[in-house]
């Protein structure tokens, strides 16, 4: 198995305070990786670094499977303007941007794929509904449908199941399983450790530093979780410059 992403001594920071500190590791193609850890532990920041939305102040991310803009990324609080007048079909069709660009029209096949994606997230019949009328769970389904169209080799999801009901979660997890069977690399930030144990073979436990990274059962041991809890919230206004070799 070849690597999809290689992370070399990565440090990501806001205002020089590191949030992800000297992280190294490799994510294989087709991996299904959960990223866990306390709030402020750098999980979302790591995804931003991988997708290229945040420039590292040390180290680098090597994207071997595809370039940064081909990565599909669902941020934690997607800044969608829900009052914008657009219907579900058009919203999902945005996933075709990389092939249609500024001017291109949708081919018959591309339209059909939009309908397929909407069907795959269980929203058939909602094509003409304005997005402003959707519930939180339905909106998350729409965003997943758009991810489906992006056809990305690497998919990053940041707490995708927050405030989503059980049934929607399990249906969306079926999509995640499908991505895995298609050998896509899926990285998901999650807080629900039971869910992680059930579904995710690999886990990265992150609390600014890497606490543990490997098979989920080994990573989510009580001693690791305890040290993750200790690491957090140690923001120090007077922090010294980090002396670790870059």
């Amino acid at each position: 198995m070849s690597a999809a992403l290689r992370i070399h001594d990565l440090t990501l920071a806001y205002d020089r305070h590191p949030v992800v500190h000297h992280l190294s590791g490799e994510i294989e193609q087709g991996a299904l990786l959960a990223v866990c850890g306390p709030n402020g532990g750098g999980k979302s920041t790591l995804l931003k670094g991988i997708v290229g939305a945040l420039q590292p102040i040390g180290g680098k991310v090597e994207r071997l499977a595809c370039d940064a803009r081909a990565i599909a990324y669902l941020p934690q609080a997607a800044d969608v303007d829900r009052s914008f007048p657009i219907d579900v079909f058009d919203m999902v069709a945005m996933g075709h941007w990389r092939s249609i660009g500024w001017f291109g029209g949708l081919s018959k096949t591309q339209s059909a794929r939009v309908f397929d994606a909407i069907a795959a997230v269980g929203l058939t019949g909602f094509e003409d509904r304005p997005i402003g009328t959707l519930s939180g769970g339905q909106m998350q389904r729409v965003l997943f449908a758009r991810l489906l169209l992006q056809d990305a080799p690497i998919i990053l999801l940041d707490e995708p199941f927050n405030a989503i009901d059980q049934r929607t979660v399990s249906e969306l997890l079926e999509l995640v399983a499908r991505w895995r069977s298609e050998k896509r690399t899926v990285i998901v930030v999650l807080h629900d450790l039971d869910l992680v144990r059930r579904v995710f073979p690999q886990t990265l436990l992150l609390a600014r530093e890497k606490i543990a990274w490997g098979p989920t059962a080994d990573v989510l041991r009580p001693e690791n979780l305890l040290s993750a809890r200790r690491m957090v919230e140690a923001f120090d206004r007077e922090a010294h410059e980090c002396e670790r070799a870059a």
Binding site: A53, R69, F84, P85, M94, F103, P130, Q150
Partner: protein
Amino acid sequence: MRARSVSMFYDLLIAPFIEFEFMRRALVGASALALAGSPLGVFLLLRRMSLTGDAMAHAILPGAAVGYLIAGLSLPAMTIGGLAAGLSVALLSGLVARFTALREDASLAGFYLMSLALGVTILSLRGSSVDLLHVLFGNVLALDEDTLLFLAGVSNFTLLALAAGYRALAMETLDPGFLSSVSKAGGPAQVLFLSLVVLNLVAGFHALGTLLAVGIMILPAASARLWSPDITRMTLIAALIGLVSSAAGLLLSYHFNLPPGPLIVLTAGVWHVASMIFGLSGGYLRRLPPRRHLEA
């Protein structure tokens, strides 16, 4: 009886345009502004930038004033000056928002106020108060050939450029995070949009003045939002309201001997108030009675 009412109708609505060339020119100029202004206004509204349009309109003043100071009431000088001032204020407030702790609204407010004060000062250096009135309130009844061609050109260019940038601009408005994760189109789309707004405000100030130019953009768009939530229909309704207001405002100004610019914007304002009350999509009356609810 019927002949008399037809002739009254003719006298009131048609004759002023048939008899006077300046009225025809004013109608063409105002219509050009209304047509290009409606989609811009709709996007300003959707991007919650209605007041940004207003601020930009003020920012144009010193540029136009410098142009006036150098060349008098000259179309190219005042246009170039206005464009330069408007674009630099837009650019500067974007940069300030990015590199300092100030948010974009605060930095824009700062720049437009400085710009406005500077503009009025420059005008007072040389101009009479008549000139100041001309720049502040425009003169749609005195559009010469060149100005008219300029307005029509700007209108056409705006519609074509907006059609080209439409998808990127809509996506940038709806979900900027997504657009920036899949492409670099967001920045160019924003710059294109702001440039078009400035260009139309500059075109608009020749006819309606710097202060009212934004009226023909925002009022019809805000009214249209109260009639339909659909973006295409909103744009069409806004254009229609803009056109009708232009014609009606000119006629009212003709019959009652009042200044045309403010009357065009006031007419659009009447539509706006009516839309707030009667609008089918979010108007007051529509929301008022709790109609019986549905089963699902």
